[in-house]
């Protein structure tokens, strides 16, 4: 336990198997197997799972900041949306003259009677620049906001409320047409990404495989962080911040570091989400979306990483079924799920599974300390 390994041998085996499945087998089964083949994976399934993998990356980011550092962000949807918008700007420019008005400008700008791109759209025709924005915009916003919030020692519910207000304010801003981000319709009707038709099954399968690679990379990176001394300081901040300070650590830089990293992960997830889902609009910044992210993490089990992935998968799988079967009841079901987890499963699903597997290590503290050994 002292020199915690990145992963146990068995866990490496699982990771490699999952990687093979997600990066190679599923996309191949979608593209190369004929539709009537029994092992064919439908394009619908690829689209759904691709979207859910983006959410899993967001959940990992949430687990770092909430599960490990004890800071509940209710604004992570904002960072996700900003990454999405940055990628969306590039995709909008790649539509070229295939829009309804056959103009060089996106349809919504033609509609506003704009004659040219506003200055902040400059260079977005270059993919590399958009990719830079995906990382820099959420990262810079998180850094500046975090610096002032953590320096002022804003904590607990106050911090959560401020992040919630931040995403809400951003949503109102993005709703405005004159912001130049498409108002409440946002960006949609994308045609091409890096020269490939976005509707092509091969393009979709490739995006899926890339998302899977990013998810696995994010998991390993997060796992490295939480098993390093950096991660031990984060959990120490969560459990006894004053002792951390009197031991000579300045919590500001630790919190700011993990907070900014977490925001960047969300931005990347958002950028992968947009071409796969085909739309980004301000509703991604709605307060409810950010709260949902926290629920995924709580359901799976905080402070375990693997719990975040499981939680995001389970809740979103359930959601896509519910919204087809009983769309009007989804919010009630989500609320009920959250209450049940809070009351009966403080360590989430992962905590429950571990308790079953090892009744001896059933104390919450022990379960949390073994975090991520899955």
């Amino acid at each position: 336990m002292i020199t915690q390994r990145l992963l146990t041998t068995r866990a490496w085996g699982v990771v490699i198997a999952v990687a093979l499945l997600l990066i190679v087998l599923l996309p191949a089964a979608n593209v190369f197997l004929p539709v009537d083949h029994s092992l064919h994976i439908s394009t619908y399934a690829i689209a759904l799972l691709g979207k859910i993998m983006c959410y899993m990356i967001v959940a990992l980011a949430m687990d770092l900041i909430w599960g490990y550092t004890g800071i509940l962000s209710l604004g992570h949807g904002l960072f996700f949306a900003l990454g999405g918008y940055a990628m969306g700007m590039h995709l909008m420019r790649m539509i070229g003259r295939e829009g309804q008005y056959q103009s060089d400008l996106p349809d919504f700008m033609v509609f506003l009677d704009w004659k040219e791109y506003p200055w902040y759209w400059s260079f977005t025709e270059h993919f590399w620049y958009a990719a830079l924005l995906v990382v820099l915009v959420p990262g810079a916003l998180a850094f500046v906001f975090g610096f002032f919030a953590f320096r002022s020692r804003i904590k607990g519910v106050y911090f959560s409320i401020i992040t919630q207000a931040l995403t809400f304010a951003a949503m109102l801003l993005f709703f405005r047409n004159d912001m130049g981000f498409g108002g409440n319709n946002g960006f949609t009707d994308f045609k091409r990404v890096l020269g490939y038709r976005i509707a092509e099954p091969a393009t979709r399968a490739t995006l899926f495989a890339i998302t899977a690679m990013v998810l696995l990379g994010a998991f390993l990176l997060c796992r490295y962080l939480v098993t390093s001394k950096f991660g031990r300081v984060l959990t120490a901040i969560r459990d006894a911040e004053s002792r951390v300070m009197f031991s000579g650590y300045n919590p500001l830089w630790y919190k700011l570091g993990v907070w900014t990293f977490s925001a960047v992960l969300c931005g990347i997830a958002g950028a992968l989400y947009v071409p796969q889902v085909g739309i980004i609009n301000p509703s991604e910044m709605s307060p409810a979306n950010s709260i949902e992210i926290a629920i995924w993490t709580a359901v799976g089990g905080r402070g375990t990483l693997i719990g975040a992935i499981v939680g995001a998968g389970l809740v979103n799988g359930l959601k896509s079924w519910f919204t087809v079967a009983f769309p009007e009841y989804w919010l009630y079901a989500l609320g009920a799920l959250f209450i049940v987890v809070t009351l009966y499963l403080p360590n989430g699903i992962v905590g429950l599974v571990r308790k079953r597997a090892r009744p001896a290590a059933a104390t919450p503290a022990a379960a949390a300390a073994q975090g991520g050994n899955a």
Binding site: S228, V233, A240, S247
Partner: protein, 305 residues
């Protein structure tokens, strides 16, 4: 002098028996080396804080801590009222006083948790404590044990000491930090000193109350502070644990300056040389325990109750 050497040196002179006895013997042997080590203690060691630039605490005039007319008011209520106090380098000082006298507030001022409303607080001749943050003060060489034992409950005893250890504590260093073998040895040795070797890999939250107190003291030792402040270190300890703590603290004096806040008069008598009595935020009396015991004002407000 490397930090491990002082342990090894004393260890060589210590016949190993069970943990507890070896600890006491270690401390006794430690005291014999005290004077020789005292000089080395003040040698400039590498300082890793970017923020505290003075290489070391300037104790050329004797005292390591000066409090001068320090007042702290909370909404008009004066928790400290023109408190003045000096602590000499290497001294073991006990601070006593009834509940609410301002003992914890005094520690808060010294460690940067609370800013004084007025007055001055200096560490050595040069370091103005009222201008530094908590981590900067910790780097300057002040370690603190809280009234309520405060350890990292979801880390093992070993990890608690690892986190406390004096080293570069900047975030970016922590990403790649690895324990060297001498650091590892120091941690193991410190665990032995406080008789927690068997609990090495146990979560601190699962330790007994007394063990947590000891773990917190061990964390302070890992910080290698020049001034240690302990707020009610024997609260909730059994008589035997209290006696062991007294031995430990006596062994620390000389190598470190120590301030102990305590309620337990018996314990204070057993370790104290100089005692300061606080009352309503200022010093009521100061002197040896015998003098204090016979001071009429002290008897009136404290002992006689």
């Amino acid at each position: 002098m490397k930090p491990t050497e002082e342990f090894q040196q004393t260890d060589a002179a210590t016949p190993q028996r069970d943990d507890r006895h070896s600890m006491l013997a270690l401390l006794r042997a430690g005291r014999e080396n005290m004077l020789a080590q005292q000089r080395e203690q003040w040698d400039a060691r590498p300082q890793f804080s970017r923020l505290v630039t003075s290489d070391d605490v300037d104790v050329t005039h004797g005292p390591i801590l000066y409090l001068e007319d320090v007042s702290v008011s909370f909404d008009g209520f004066k928790a400290l009222n023109k408190l003045s106090l000096t602590i000499d380098a290497g001294e073991l000082r006990c601070v006593i006083g009834p509940n609410g006298a301002g003992k914890t507030t005094m520690m808060d001022v010294i460690t940067g948790k609370t800013r004084p409303t007025s007055g001055r607080a200096f560490f050595g001749q040069t370091i103005d404590l009222t201008k530094l943050s908590e981590p900067q003060i910790a780097h300057a060489g002040i370690g603190r044990k809280f009234q309520k034992p405060t350890v990292f409950e979801r880390h093992t005893a070993f990890e608690n000491l690892e986190l406390a250890m004096k080293t570069d504590k900047r975030a970016r260093r922590s990403l790649t930090a690895k324990l060297s073998s001498s650091e590892l040895e120091r941690i193991e040795h410190c665990l032995e000193t406080v008789a927690l070797s068997a609990q090495r890999d146990k979560l601190a939250g699962l330790l007994s109350h007394g063990q947590k107190q000891w773990l917190e003291i061990a964390m302070l030792l890992m910080q290698e502070p020049k001034l240690l402040m302990l707020d009610e270190p024997v609260a909730g300890m059994t008589d035997e644990e209290t006696a062991r703590t007294a031995e430990l603290l006596k062994g620390l004096a000389g190598k470190h300056s120590v301030i102990v806040v305590e309620h337990d008069m018996e314990f204070v008598s057993s370790i104290a040389r100089q005692v300061t009595v606080l009352h309503e935020g200022s010093v009521l009396a100061e002197g040896t325990m015998d003098k204090i015991k016979n001071n009429e004002r002290v008897i009136e407000v404290y002992l006689g109750r």
